[in-house]
Symmetry: C2
Subunit: 253 residues, 2 copies
């Protein structure tokens, strides 16, 4: 409703291990939460296999349609780490060894067994023109190329890279969410939810049912860029749930 623009981001998960079902992804939730704190909306996620052409095509589709693109995975030292090569193909530039990345790795591996091997030096490769993202967790840096931010796949390393980017990206107002829970089957309160949303332009209300301890219930999440409006709508919804005979729980169940 406000005249302010909404900043959006997409996330590309490079992800044979996620697509095989072997590994439970943890990066979508952590990138989403972090982006919201920066005032940027996560508007799309894609998970694609470890194939250069598939990654490059997705990068080009997503970086053109969002303010920012983040990728996770495929930047380690082994043969299946091909994100940098895919990114270079997407941007039609060569892969180079970044001098600062090489220095970081030389320093990091100086006192570690084996030193800076050829395999480890792979982690200094970047698409020509890229900048580095500091990695306080494990040395090998992330990479920024235009509006694309290339992060590690291992969640705690991705978290360290996000930490380094905190406060550095332009964004708008964070979305504020207010949650109200009730031990109500959501189908019993569907009209009430729709009416409350319609009466408050600028909010979106999501309904997330659950079945727990042998009873049905739902959490209703009110989202808005206007925090005051979200809170007011939350109070309205709680009143209406009370009138309908349910006991609303602030913050959700």
């Amino acid at each position: 409703m406000s005249g302010e623009r909404t900043w959006t981001a997409a996330l590309l998960v490079i992800g044979d291990e996620i697509l095989s079902g072997r590994t439970q992804d943890k990066n979508v939730a952590q990138v989403a939460t972090w982006l919201n704190e920066q005032g940027i909306r996560l508007a799309e996620v894609r998970i694609v296999p470890d194939e250069i052409a598939r990654i490059a095509d997705s990068v080009n589709a997503l970086r053109a349609t969002h303010d920012y693109l983040f990728t996770t995975g495929g930047i380690g030292p082994t043969h299946d780490d091909i994100t940098v090569d895919a990114m270079a193909e997407a941007f039609r530039v060569p892969v180079i060894v970044h001098p600062d990345a090489r220095k970081i790795l030389e320093e990091y591996y100086r006192d570690r067994p084996g030193g800076l091997t050829e395999a480890r030096l792979r982690m200094a490769r970047v698409p020509e023109g890229a900048e580095l993202i500091v990695n306080a967790a494990s040395g090998a840096p992330g990479v920024r190329m235009g509006n694309v931010h290339i992060l590690a796949g291992v969640p705690y390393i991705a978290a360290a890279m996000l930490e380094a980017l905190t406060g550095k990206l332009e964004g708008g107002r964070p979305v504020v969410s207010v949650t109200v829970g009730a031990r109500a089957p959501e189908s019993d309160v569907a009209d009430l939810l729709r009416e409350t949303e319609a009466a408050n332009p600028g909010v979106a209300i999501g309904s997330y049912p659950f079945f727990r301890d042998g009873r049905y219930g739902a959490n209703f999440v009110i989202r808005s860029e206007d925090g005051e409006l979200a809170r007011r709508t939350g109070n309205q919804l709680a009143s209406r749930l009370r009138e309908a005979g349910y006991d609303p729980v602030d913050g959700g169940i």
Copy 2:
């Protein structure tokens, strides 16, 4: 390497609650695992907001490029459940109330408080021409429209719908995966991994590093449609790890 075709599927997660970071997705891993048992490869996942146009566009992009498309989320009784409407838009057909779905809901809600309300009847709506997918967990059925399978977002209900589809979709050979773990920094064994993969056409080896109990390690996952080849490659890799001074762990760490 074999002449057999590979069957692929995409998964579309309809997903404001995932994109906001509020909810940790559980469906990607369970759909991926189930698909592999059916001999179908999960080749792409997209997570999009609860917006009809975005859902419809993604449905049309993904159903054309994969043998199967699955969707999760947005088929409940509330105003934010719009998957069926988006699907009808994608297929350019009207939404109708499916007579069998209405019967299932009448039966399910006969002895439940409130009965079959208008909101609950929303769950009998399908795109014209669709068939139902049995839901043994909570009554309201899933929907099949062409090669698109519309599942619930709540994981245990999605699981019940997958159960109903087990053995009913044409597929190829499941991918067999063999895991070998070692307390090796993956950068120390990068050459060995690449050489083992290259020496065994028809396998893909993924390397998944971890840091646990204060030590580095990695699991190496060998995947192939040829189970015997996967196992042989796993044994080769274990031997080479042993020669390199590491203690390989069958099944991973």
